[in-house]
Subunit: 193 residues, 4 copies
DNA sequence: GGATAAGCGAGACGGTACGTCTCGTCTTTTG
DNA sequence: CAAAAGACGAGACGTACCGTCTCGCTTATCC
C-alpha cells in the first residue's frame, strides 16, 4: 500500500497522494469512518474532488487504501524466541490498535466493504498477508520444538485475534487488558494438549 | 430500537409491524443488506413510508429490528447432556446461520450500527442475551463435572463464536464444514488443561 | 381558559371551542401565522387534535375563525359627527391593528386563503361586513351635507384602507404614523372636488 | 434570492436556469402558485430536483425568482406627456396583469413570503424599483406643471395601486374595468386641490 | 332517569412535499 | 491541451405537517 511509483521525492503525484491519504486519516480520527466525506478530504488536502475520484474511484477504496497503509506499520510481528511472549505482544498490540480511531475504523471499513472483485482482492490480500506474517510465530515455535508439529497455525491465530476484532466491532465493549493473556493461554493450552 | 408502543395483537398496528418486518427480511434475502430501501419496504408491505419512519425512525433501526427478531429463532441452545456435542451443534448452527442472507446481513448490520445510546442499548442487550444463553452450555458442563469449575464461560464461548463471525464479515471466506469441530476441540482442550 | 364553570351553553363543546381559539391566538402571537400548527394548538388547549379537525376541518378554517372573531372587536366604527375625524380614527385604529401580530396574521391568512366555496363565502362575508360598517362614515357625512351625494363610499373607503393593508402585507414597511392623516386628506380632497 | 453565481450565458448552467424558470411559470399558469411543486418543475424542466435546490434553496425562492423576473416585462411605465393618460394606462395594465395567473400568483407569493433577510431584501428591492419607476409619472407631471410641486409621489402611486392589489389578493372580487379611471380621477383631484 | 346520540381522548396511519446529503460524472474554463 | 473548478445527475434519507380513521369512553340531551 505504500506508494510504489515514487519517481521524484516531491513530484506532484506523490504530493497529492500523500496529502489526500493524510487528510483521510485526519478525518477518520476526527469524525470516525462515517464522518469521512470526499468533499472534505479534498478540501483539507487542498486538492480537487475530481482528482480523488480519478485515482481511487470510490470513497470505499480511498478509506481502505488510507487505513490499510497505516495498519501494517502498527502491527509488527514480534520474534522474542518464546511463543507465549510473541503471541502476547502481538495480541496486546492488536488490542491496542483496535481501540485507536484508525484501527477501529479499519475494522469497520473492512466489515462494510463490498464484494466486488477489486475489493475482494484487496481484502483477501490484506488478510492473507497478515496471516502469513502472524503464523510465523507458530511455525517458529514448532521449529523450536515449543509446539507439536501438527498445530494448525491459521486456526490458532484466528482463535487469538478473532475475539479481539469481535469485541471491537460487534460487542463494542472496552477491551479488558487481561484479555490478551487469557486468550494466549487458552490457545496455547489447547495446542499443547 | 423497536417501536415504542404496541397495542392489541391483531390490531392494525400489529399488522403493519408484521408486514414491514416481513418485507424487510424479504428484501434482505433478495438484495442484501444494502439493497434494503425504506421506500421498497413500504411498497412491499403495503404500508406508507411515513409509518415506517414513525416507528423505526431510521433504516438502521428497521433492519436491526427485523434481523434481530429473526436471529433468536435460528439459534436455539442445545442441551444434549454432553459439552462437546452441545458446542458442536451450537457452532454448527451458528456457522450455518451466518452463511444465510439474513444471518450474514445481521452481522454486517451490527458491525455497521452506530454508537448512539439507543443502538448501543440494543446491541448490548442482544449480545448479553446471546451470551447468557450460550454460556449455559458451560455452566451445565461444570455442574456435570465435565469441566473444571474455574472455566470462564464468556471467554470460552467467545473464542468459539468469534472466529465464525470473523470469517463471515472480515475475511469472507467460505466456512469450512470442519471448522466448528476444530474450534470446539481446541477450546475444550484449552479449558480442560 | 377562564370559563371553566359554565356548562349550560354548550358545556364541554363550548369549553373546547374557547380553549382552542384562545390557544390559536396565543400561538399566532408567539410564532406568527405560519408558526401555528394544529398539534401545538391541541396541546396548548389541552384538547386532542382530532377534536380540532372534527370542528374546523382544516387549519386554514381554524386560523381564519380565530382571527376573524378577534378582528371585529378591534375595529369599531367611530361616529364623532365629523367625517375627517371619523376617518382619521378609523384609519389610525386599522393601522395600529395591522401592526399587531393577530392583525398582521389576519391579513396574511386572508391573502393565503383558498378559493373553495366555503372560504370564498367567509371571505366575502367578512369584507362586506367591514365595508358596510365603514362606509357608514361616508353616508352619514353625506346626510350631514359634509360631502356631495354622488360620492362612492365603497371606492372611497378602499382608497383609504388599501394602502394600509398594502404596506402591511406587501412592502412590510413600518407604518408611518402620519400616513393615516395623509390618506384621509387626499381622499377627502378628492371627494370634495 | 436568485441564484448566486452565473457564469457564461449559454453554458449548461444557463440552460438549466432558463428551463427551470420556464417550467415554473408554466406550472403557475397551469395549477396556480400552490400547484407548483419542485418535483414537477424538475421533471418538466428535464432537470434533477437537486439542481433546483442547489440554486434556489427553497421553493419560495424559486417561485419568487420566476415571477419577479416576468413582472417587470409586463409593466412598462408609460410616458404620453399627460399625467392622467399615463396613470390610466399604468393602472389599467396593472389591473390586467393582476388578473393573469402569474400576476395574481406574484401578489400571493409576495404576500406569503417570509421575513428572513434574503427575502426581505428581495422584497424591498422589488417594491422600491417599482416605486422608482412609477413615481416618474408624477415627477414628470410636476416638471410639466400639471401638478403642484408639493405632491408626494410615493403616497399618490400607492393610493392608486394599493386598491388594485387589495382586490386581487384580499377581496378577490373581479376588477371592474372602470376602476382604474375612478382611482386615477380621485387621486388627481386629491392632488390638485 | 335511563336510553341514546353527540362529542372527545387516544393512537396510529395515509399522503404530500420539502429539503438534505453524498456519491460519482460531466462540462466549462483556464493556465 | 490537460487539469482545476464547478455544476449536474442520481438516489436515498429523514422531517414536518396535514388530514383521516377506528375504537372506547364520557357527557349532554331527550323521552
Amino acid at each position: 500500500m505504500s506508494e510504489t511509483t515514487r519517481r521524484r521525492p516531491g513530484g506532484r503525484s506523490a504530493r497529492v497522494r500523500r496529502a489526500v491519504l493524510d487528510a483521510t486519516l485526519e478525518l477518520v480520527n476526527a469524525h470516525g469512518l462515517d464522518g469521512v466525506t470526499v468533499a472534505e478530504v479534498a478540501e483539507r488536502a487542498g486538492v480537487h474532488e475530481t482528482s480523488i475520484y480519478r485515482r481511487w474511484r470510490t470513497r470505499e477504496n480511498l478509506t481502505l487504501d488510507a487505513l490499510l497503509a497505516s495498519a501494517d506499520e502498527q502491527l509488527p510481528v514480534p520474534d522474542t524466541g518464546a511463543v507465549r511472549e510473541d503471541l502476547l505482544r502481538y495480541a496486546t498490540a492488536l488490542a491496542a490498535y483496535l481501540t485507536t480511531p484508525p484501527g477501529n475504523a479499519l475494522d469497520r471499513a473492512l466489515a462494510a466493504a463490498g464484494d466486488d472483485p477489486a475489493t475482494a482482492h484487496t481484502r483477501s490480500e490484506y488478510w492473507n498477508t497478515r496471516a502469513a506474517l502472524s503464523t510465523q510465530i507458530f511455525t517458529r515455535a514448532v521449529d523450536r520444538g515449543e509446539l507439536p508439529p501438527q498445530v494448525d497455525p491459521r486456526l490458532a491465530i484466528e482463535m487469538l485475534v478473532a475475539p479481539l476484532h469481535f469485541k471491537a466491532v460487534f460487542t463494542r465493549e472496552p477491551l479488558d487488558p487481561a484479555l490478551p493473556a487469557q486468550l494466549v493461554d487458552l490457545v496455547l493450552r489447547g495446542l499443547a494438549a
